[in-house]
């Protein structure tokens, strides 16, 4: 699975380099043969293709890397950063007992209007 990173990560392509290098080497030797610069010889053609493949591998591994596309992914703003741990119920409401957990499968009923909100207002006023 791909994940994003704050620092750019270097990806090398030796396999692609070998394949394209073989194609390039074969094309170059064929061109030299067609232009009568190099005589037609099967071993020569093989040598050029292999050398092209090696050049492609070296380029795919040690070539100067391309810059990453786009900008670096922005870090989360401070307000959106997840907190290390949510505050406990007792820390927020030190004077109240924790309500019982609803049994599995049972949908908890919504709070009645004015009941807890009033209590909260009173506490904030105090």
């Amino acid at each position: 699975m791909l994940t994003t990173s704050q620092e750019p990560v270097l990806h090398r392509h030796p396999i692609r380099g070998a394949i394209w290098g073989l194609v390039m080497g074969f094309g170059v030797i064929l061109l030299l043969m067609v232009l009568r610069i190099v005589p037609v010889m099967i071993p020569t053609a093989i040598i050029y293709a292999v050398v092209g493949g090696v050049v492609g591998i070296l380029w795919g591994v040690f070539g100067p890397p391309k810059r990453p596309k786009g900008r670096a992914p922005r870090p989360y703003p401070a307000s959106m950063e997840p907190q290390a741990s949510a505050p406990l119920y007792e820390e927020v409401y030190p004077d109240k007992a924790r309500p019982p957990a609803s049994p599995p499968g049972e949908v908890p009923m919504p709070m009645e209007m004015g009941e807890d909100e009033d209590d909260a207002d009173e506490e904030s006023d105090a």
């Binding site: 394949i19 390039m24 170059v28 061109l31 005589p39 037609v40 492609g56 795919g60 100067p64």
Partner: protein, 282 residues
């Protein structure tokens, strides 16, 4: 500015491709010192006339192909493996830029374009001197190969006089390109031959290339195929030399277009698709 630079670059590359073949094909100003008519048997001389004034007789009419020997290979190799085995050999030495023809063999070979005009010629008098062009220079060397038009015809007249070979075998081959072989018991004591090779009809498409060709012709070998050997039994004729297939603009032949496509695709792929890349994705 960048656009003008690219335009200039493209014009330069195109000019190089278009002009180079013509510049390389510049003619020789030497005087012909060999009269090729003296090597053409009398009964064939009326078929030739020097129409382009280059000292080489041009064709009025394409002569018939030579009469094949009883043991001549009429079909060639039928599958790829057999072909590779036939044309692949370690005996070819590209460091040897010279040419040679030993033994009693002598004769002349003239190559023509599709219109029957002469392209090149070579001659061997059978003595110790090397293969020659009509200007007296050594022929079939790397720097002075025999030019053969792949759309045209090659005409030859040869003999082994004063020797007469019987139960002889021969082969002629160029690595990676072709091999032909044959032989004949020669019960009628023939010691000369004439014929033509019509490349225009033999080859599927014209091409250009430089090849090293070698061949041998051995007396008394019998019906078995003649292999590559360091030293052939005497008497024999053994030769090697350079042949340049010429004719069309190399960039416009099928192999030339294929080569350009491969080279361009490979170069582009290496440069842009195989280059290491920095990424924000791990």
């Amino acid at each position: 500015m960048k656009r003008w630079r690219n335009l200039l670059l493209a014009v330069g590359v195109f000019g190089l491709m278009a002009i180079a073949p013509f510049a390389a094909a510049g003619g020789s100003a030497d005087e012909a010192v060999v009269d090729l008519f003296e090597f053409i048997p009398e009964q064939f001389r009326d078929d030739f006339e020097d129409r382009n004034d280059d000292g080489i007789p041009d064709l009025k009419e394409v002569p018939p192909e030579g009469i094949p020997g009883i043991w001549d290979d009429q079909f060639g190799e039928v599958d790829e493996d057999a072909f590779i085995a036939a044309v692949g050999s370690e005996s070819f030495d590209t460091d040897d830029k010279g040419s040679s023809l030993t033994g009693p063999c002598k004769g002349v070979a003239i190559s023509y374009d599709a219109d029957g005009l002469s392209v090149d010629a070579m001659v061997d008098r059978g003595g110790p001197e090397p293969l020659l062009d009509i200007y007296g220079n050594q022929k079939m060397t790397r720097s002075n190969p025999l030019n053969v038009d792949t759309r045209g015809t090659l005409v030859y007249f040869g003999s082994s006089q004063p020797e007469t070979f019987h139960d002889h075998r021969w082969f002629l081959k160029a690595e990676g390109v072709f091999k032909d072989d044959g032989g004949d018991p020669n019960p009628r004591d023939k010691n000369r031959n004439a014929g033509s090779v019509d490349f225009g009809s033999l080859l599927p498409f014209p091409f250009t290339a430089l090849i090293v060709a070698e061949g041998a012709w051995v007396d008394g070998w019998g019906p078995d195929e003649l292999p590559d050997m360091e030293v052939y039994p005497e008497p024999n004729c053994v030769g090697r030399g350079w042949v340049a297939f010429v004719g069309p603009n190399p960039w416009l032949t099928a192999p030339g277009i294929l080569a350009m496509l491969f080279a361009a695709a490979g170069f582009t792929g290496v440069l842009f698709n195989a280059r290491p890349a920095l990424s924000w994705r791990e």
